[in-house]
């Protein structure tokens, strides 16, 4: 036996509320991330990811409160990202109850912050979130983007993933901005390209539309799969994804 492929629902949180519609039946409040987190936990999610897309300080404080409330009720690992740029940001989130913290633009602006955070809290605490798309301008053919995929960071995505690991991140969250929202499947070539240069766990994100989309991402080198809209809209349940993974011969946690 070996470690199970993790299936991770991702919630975009703004000012303490889930945004990007959620379409679940039997929820009192479909915008409450805590209640949704508990639903996904009960459905067998192996981990939860909250991405805080609040721009304001007030929004951040509300998100910390959401993390606190989630840690009260959900007993699976919780990763929180969005706007993280310093040791103190990470400290606040961990104190609120996050188990792992995802860093993105903050690390592009100042890569050394990765080493500062992981020296203090350990490698396992930090996830490097890489929003990448295909581009002929970079040697690997993939570039890092910012601003939700609208701007190029002028950085080679594969080299950046590798550098993040060298600086200390314990995991990579690779999100394909080309595939994101298309429901046409993961960018398997990009997953394989990152897998070839890093030895830490790799989470694949972006493009999932059907349960059959997930096993190829694992075959390409992902240790975990993350999705948002297919779960929120009820197109797929966590168990559907696990069934597809198990049918393809990948170990999963059954609940």
């Amino acid at each position: 036996m070996s470690v199970a492929v993790r299936v991770i629902p991702c919630l975009d949180v703004h000012g303490g509320r889930v945004v990007k519609g959620v379409n679940f039946v039997d929820l009192r409040d479909a915008g409450d991330p805590v209640e949704l987190g508990a639903v996904y936990d009960a459905e067998g999610a192996d981990e939860l990811t909250f991405l805080d897309i609040s721009a304001s300080v007030e929004g951040r404080e509300t998100t910390l409160e959401v993390v606190r409330r989630t840690a009260e009720t959900v007993f699976i690992p919780l990763t929180v990202g969005g706007g993280v740029g310093s040791v103190s940001d990470v400290d606040q989130l961990l104190r609120a109850g996050a188990d792992k913290v995802a860093i993105n633009t903050g690390a592009i602006h100042r890569p050394q912050v990765i080493a500062e955070i992981t020296r203090r809290f350990g490698n396992q605490v930090l996830v490097l979130s890489v929003d990448a798309r295909r581009s002929p301008d970079q040697p690997s053919g993939f570039e890092v983007t910012t601003h939700g995929g609208r701007k190029s960071a002028g950085v080679d995505a594969i080299a950046w993933a590798r550098r993040g690991v060298d600086l200390g991140v314990g995991e990579i969250l690779l999100n394909s901005m080309d595939a994101d929202g298309t429901t046409a499947g993961f960018d398997l070539e990009m997953i394989a390209a990152v897998r070839a240069v890093v030895d830490v766990p790799l989470i694949a994100s972006g493009g999932a539309g059907r349960a059959e989309d997930f096993p190829p991402a694992v075959a390409a080198g992902a240790d975990a799969v993350l999705a948002a809209s297919v779960f929120h809209f009820g197109t797929l349940r966590v168990a559907d994804v696990k069934r597809a993974l198990a049918a393809a011969g990948h170990p999963v946690r059954l609940t």
Binding site: V5, A71, E72, F75, L94, G97
Partner: protein
Amino acid sequence: MTLSDPVTPGPDIVVLDYGSGNIRSAERAVARTGARVTVTDDRRAAVAADGLVVPGVGAFAACMEGLRAVDGPAVIAERLAADRPVLAICVGHQVLFANGIEHGVEAAGCGVWPGTVERLHAERLPHMGWNTLTPPPGSRLFAGIENERFYFVHSYGVRALTGTGDRAVTWAEHGGDRFVAAVEEGPLWSTQFHPEKSGAAGALLIANWVLTLGGDTR
């Protein structure tokens, strides 16, 4: 009854606060068994409680340093000498061994058990996620828990430990490397994985420990 039903009087449990990472989830996971939980670095409270939880995340040497700052090794030794239960989690489990080597830095542990905490020989590290394990027959920690996965997140572990008459060792495997996943010996139980993050299976395991504390929990 369910795990969330309050129980009176539940045992009194201290989660040792020595500046190590996220202890909120450990506190909550123990509290939902009905136990009364206090998070503190107070030495006397830690010695006097019915049960002591020693959590831990981060690096071995840093954890030992934090633990020493609150007199943790002596508190643990005092409790064990008096046959008083201790549950140690993750790096809290690791620091019970003789020593640890991380990033080429060797540090002394509490030395309750022989052995060295060292980097696992797996291709994919950290070992992150839900894994299976093999408890020994008669394990009290895993009583009633079968074929469940638990959540691990670590790169280091103990790769050799003898199970003596009194010592029950649970093993797990990652990337072809076998390591100690849990130990039960007298009043001292420890887990490399995170029961407080292991959903329903973790809740059962924590309840198994709380049941040994003498409080009337069922």
